[in-house]
């Protein structure tokens, strides 16, 4: 049974800008799916429709038995608890410590008041430390996030999402602001999380070669429509050309060297 299912989902911003039209696909538990496409093709909107940071205009989205678009406040909170998200610009609270940012992943699991005053249990703190250890960040635990490098910040972002004990992690351009070596570290961690921890991953990527290397399955998006949905290895050059509507040669060669 798929963990996530999109049925004819459309999204129109402000009644005029069409971001998604009639998107349907489903994702099985444990999958690593990469969504590729030019900027403005609706990649980000797809991810944000899943945890309702953006409300879809039409269609149904099912996640783990929940009808997302019909979820009320309480149910939405339940859904979001199970979905981690990491962002291109990390979206951390820069002035708080690394460990505090990681613990933010627990907010969905806590009562409002406990979250407001930041009352975390000792066990939660220990878990946070273990996650940091897994990502190689223990020494940074008490640093303020604005002291970290981009790659470290993104690892804090990953730690925060793991803290949620998620079933699904959404990655919105996780390496778009990083240099090649930091990008590799982040992608390796995500791959490891997907394989070892059996957490489903959906990642928006604009580097086709990275997507092909890490994802089992690729969804190609152009102007809000799915133009390719299949195994990574079957993605042909002409298909890439169709997705990006430009010369695929340029797209691939300028970054490929860093991964081979």
């Amino acid at each position: 049974m798929p963990i996530l299912e999109f049925q004819n989902v459309s999204k129109v911003y402000n009644g005029v800008t069409k971001a998604l039209s009639n998107v349907s696909f489903s994702v099985d538990e444990g999958d690593f799916v990469s969504i590729i496409g030019p900027s403005g093709s609706g990649k980000s909107t797809i991810l944000r429709c899943i945890n309702r940071l953006v409300d879809a205009t039409q269609g149904e989205i099912y996640f783990d038995g929940h009808d997302i678009n019909k979820a009320g406040k309480q149910e939405l909170r339940e859904v979001r608890k199970k979905i981690g998200m990491i962002f291109q610009h990390y979206n951390l609270v820069d002035r708080l410590s690394v460990i505090e940012n990681v613990l933010h992943g627990r907010l969905g699991h806590k009562s409002t008041i406990a979250g407001v005053i930041g009352a975390y249990t000792e066990q939660e703190k220990e878990t946070a430390f273990s996650i940091l250890a897994m990502l190689g960040l223990t020494e940074q635990a008490y640093k303020r996030c604005d002291e970290l490098s981009g790659g470290q910040k993104q690892r804090v972002g990953i730690a925060r999402s793991l803290m949620q004990e998620p079933r699904l992690i959404l990655c919105d351009e996780p390496i778009a602001s990083l240099d090649p070596s930091a990008s590799k570290v982040i992608m390796d961690h995500l791959s490891e999380i997907n394989k070892a921890l059996k957490i489903t991953c959906i990642a928006n990527l604009h580097q086709v070669d990275v997507a092909m290397k890490y994802a089992k399955r690729i969804i190609g998006l152009t102007s809000g429509q799915i133009v390719y949905d299949g195994p990574a290895q079957d993605l042909s050059r002409s298909k890439i050309y169709e997705i990006y509507q430009s010369n695929e040669g340029e797209l691939i060669t300028d970054i490929r060297y860093s991964y081979e």
């Binding site: 940071l53 610009h89 806590k110 979250g115 925060r160 949620q164």
Partner: protein, 273 residues
């Protein structure tokens, strides 16, 4: 206009840009000159008299506007009024900042409660910002009379309007990204406020508050004049009695305090940012 303002110096030979620059300079100059002439006529202002008044004022100030012994003997009274004014400015600013913070949460794009509420909050703040504080002072005088609360509320309303606008801008600029992430974890509204917005925007908010304290001390002199309270009233009292030596001491005391607060605020800003 754009050519005039945006261009970096160009080597000789590109006369066209110089011509445009000269032409727009002439245009601006003509506009300002006209504005100046019209304004002088409307306000019945003579530049000659204005220029004349400055040396006169300096000579007069050097002779009369200097604290003397009698003025020094009034120092304790002046200082106590000054302290009252400073405390009033801090109290007004802190209270209006607390109210403004909660209102600005309803007005930001970041917290996205409801676009209509947001619009209403912005309009509400704009109303308080654009009604001059002297109107509030006059209005409050009717009911509160010559009372410190008159000054308190007059300054409160104006500060509130200003701070709501500043806070909304600050929160939208500083906190929107982390708020998105906290929403995604399933955090509730209050959790997002206390774990995301406050930690990320507090330094900027405090910086605005410090700025507003400074501003309110200066404005409280004006409000004090109108409502016969505080340091403004004390100045007015000496001034009307032609006791310029004591009035000058009031001015010096205000200046010293404002400058000290400015220096302290700048130091604090540097550390907390």
């Amino acid at each position: 206009m754009n050519n005039y303002t945006k261009q970096a110096p160009k080597p000789v030979g590109q006369t066209s840009i110089f011509t445009i620059r000269k032409r727009s300079f002439a245009l601006v100059f003509a506009f300002v000159a006209t504005l100046f002439a019209l304004s002088s006529a409307v306000a019945n202002f003579s530049t000659a008299k204005g220029l004349e008044s400055i040396p006169k004022a300096i000579i007069w100030m050097a002779a009369n506007f200097v604290p003397d012994e009698k003025a020094i003997s009034r120092l304790p009274n002046i200082l106590s009024k000054l302290a009252e004014t400073a405390l009033l400015a801090v109290a007004v600013t802190v209270c209006s900042a607390l109210c403004a913070f909660f209102f600005s949460l309803l007005g930001t794009k970041t917290t996205k409660i409801n676009p209509w509420i947001s619009r209403a909050v912005r309009a509400f703040a704009s109303f308080f910002r654009n009604v001059p504080n002297i109107v509030w002072a006059i209005l409050l005088m009717f009911s509160f009379g010559q009372n410190i609360l008159t000054g308190f509320f007059a300054l409160f309303f104006a500060s509130f309007g200003m701070l709501v606008r500043m806070f909304i801008e600050t929160i939208d600029e500083v906190s929107s990204s982390c708020v998105e992430a906290l929403h995604a974890t399933g955090a509730t509204f209050l959790q997002t406020v206390f774990q995301g917005i406050i930690p990320s925007s507090l330094p900027n908010i405090i910086s605005w508050v410090l700025y507003m304290v400074e501003y309110n001390i200066r404005d409280s002199a004006l409000i004090g004049l109108l409502t016969a309270t505080g340091i403004g009233n004390l100045f007015d009292l000496y001034y009307k009695r032609l006791d310029y030596a004591s009035a000058s001491l009031v001015v010096i005391c205000i200046a010293v305090m404002v400058i000290s607060i400015e220096i302290a605020s700048n130091k604090i800003r540097k550390v907390i940012m």
